[in-house]
């Protein structure tokens, strides 16, 4: 249960990227999460909401994009998504694989309301 610390890191990154006078306009923060990042998306959303509640960023929410784990077989070059995180080639059965993606935990972009729609 380390999602509170992760949420804190996300908040710090947003505060660094967005000019102070615009933090209240933050509406959505797009996050990329891989299945091997060790982060539980629901838990991260819950922690983030608890953290921004009753602050000037209370209208901000996380948009979490969950990525699949993608592997490439070093023997037969087959590229595939793992089901149930089972690490053997679905084509030739080899376990000599390279993880292409799956460990991601990134802030991708931040959406801000324009001045005219900030009252929404």
């Amino acid at each position: 249960m380390h999602e509170l610390g992760i949420a804190q890191n996300i908040l710090e990154i947003v505060q660094q990227a967005v000019p102070k006078e615009q933090t209240a306009a933050v509406r959505s923060i797009r996050i990329r999460v891989g299945p091997l990042s060790g982060v539980v998306p629901d838990s991260l959303e819950f922690c983030f909401q608890a953290m921004v509640n009753e602050t000037e960023m209370q209208n901000a929410s996380l948009a979490i994009e969950q990525l699949p784990a993608i592997l490439t077989c070093k023997k037969c070059s087959y590229r595939f998504q793992t089901k149930d995180l089972e690490f053997f080639c679905q084509s030739c059965g080899s376990s000599d694989l390279e993880l292409v993606s799956g460990k991601e935990l990134e802030v991708v972009e931040i959406e801000l309301a324009e001045e005219s729609d900030q009252s929404l």
Partner: protein, 218 residues
């Protein structure tokens, strides 16, 4: 709506501090290990066995991470090994910054081996680089042979697996071949040791490996 594109790693701050720690270890010729496992798998017992075998020929230091108490640091200190206890006060893992602070309090002069004993937890410590040369996951036979499949991130991110409490094999529902097969399915590059901190089985192989790795860190 306006959009700010940033593409930043959430844990970049941790990773930056971890790089500083790693550089310090490299500069001082210290072989640093991050020991991870669920609570009670035998991390501290493994340290005690390692001290007995290595202490006469190597200088060892330890950073202990626990949610509460300095009981582990007390166990380590009995061997005369310099130790700093990090108490996370509920935190489920160590972060690079906590390790950096602890390093500032340790006399690292002449240290060959640094063991960082993480908080007992098979999930959260997987994502946090501390700057170690290798992450060592310890799994005891009493936990069952399915754990590598249930907690894949930890086994994927580790380079060594120690299967501990092999002396209890006759009494527990755990097939060693299945356990190792499951671990290698998640990470075929895992170096595996089988130990019992109770009988001492397998400890000399583990310590021989540590000696070799330390020599190559110089």
């Amino acid at each position: 709506m306006s959009v700010i594109t940033i593409e930043r790693k959430v844990l970049e701050k941790n990773d930056q501090v971890a790089s500083r720690n790693r550089q310090l270890f490299r500069d001082q010729g210290i072989f640093a290990l991050n020991l991870v496992s669920s609570p009670g798998a035998g991390k501290t017992s493994l340290l005690e066995r390692s001290f007995q075998e290595l202490q006469s020929s190597m200088k060892i230091a330890v950073i202990e991470g626990d949610v509460q108490t300095d009981l582990d640091a007390q166990r380590v200190a009995r061997y005369g090994v310099p130790v700093i206890q990090i108490v996370t006060m509920g935190g489920c893992h160590l972060e690079a910054g906590l390790v950096e602070d602890a390093l500032g309090k340790l006399n690292l002069n002449g240290v060959d081996l640094l063991f960082i004993e993480n908080v007992g937890n098979l999930v959260c410590p997987a994502g946090y680089d501390l700057g170690e040369a290798v992450k060592v996951v310890i799994l005891s036979t009493t936990e069952g042979d399915d754990k590598p499949l249930k907690y894949p991130a930890m086994f994927l991110n580790s380079s060594v697996l120690i299967v501990n409490k092999v002396d209890l094999m006759p009494y527990v529902n755990c097939d060693l071949n299945v356990l190792k097969g499951n671990a290698l399915r998640v990470n075929p590059n895992l170096k595996i040791f089988e130990t019992s901190c109770f009988t001492g089985a397998g400890i000399s192989e583990w310590c021989e490996w540590l000696r070799r790795k330390d020599a190559s860190a110089k």
